[in-house]
Symmetry: C2
Subunit: 105 residues, 2 copies
Amino acid sequence: MQQDVFAALADPTRRQLVSWLAVRSATATELARRLPISRQAVAKHLEVLGEARLIARERSGRDVHYSLEAERLAAASEWLATVSARWESRLQRLKSYVEKGERHA
Amino acid sequence: MQQDVFAALADPTRRQLVSWLAVRSATATELARRLPISRQAVAKHLEVLGEARLIARERSGRDVHYSLEAERLAAASEWLATVSARWESRLQRLKSYVEKGERHA
DNA sequence: TGCATGTGCAACCATACGGTTGCACATGGT
DNA sequence: ACCATGTGCAACCGTATGGTTGCACATGCA
């Protein structure tokens, strides 16, 4: 499912990773050095982010560099916008109903 | 934490509930009728959404009506936009660097 | 008053999740 | 050739998660 993006972003550590990778690409070891958890834990998080297609991996010799894949962020944003829009239009209908009622009162 | 919104939206059932509540408010029992799970399961989901302040509850006699609280959707959207923006500007910098290089080549 | 219906609470269960440690393998540099 | 360093894989662990069932309580209505 595409919407698994939200599941991937559910964890604060993963949001931090995404946030860092938005600034510059990095390896799992580099990222782990900035966190209070093990390199393997970070690797697992990166795998989850990768499955959600939020990041891309590129091997370079011994190292593996991870970089952001921003399209999925846009997809998530779009879902929020869609739901929001439905809500807003519902509020709009409600508002005009109330206003009509007040005019009658 | 405000960002718990993403954790709340991580579950597909909860996204469905949010989506429905964007159209119209409803009670737990009504929502459960539309889902293949028990009313109690729905109640738990609604509690999670409530803790994330994505929905509001209002008691009306025997019933409890749930309705969307769209501000948090906006907050989540904003986070996505911020990260996205950082990434875009990074790409921009990269692009101009590459172009400069090509001019030198 | 009695009953149907909606809600609240608790116990319980299987599995997913986020973390660890340990070790093998691959690659780069001296 | 050697060793340091990064990665990959697997086993393991405690707790959170999403679900269930059962039952008590509250309210609306005939």
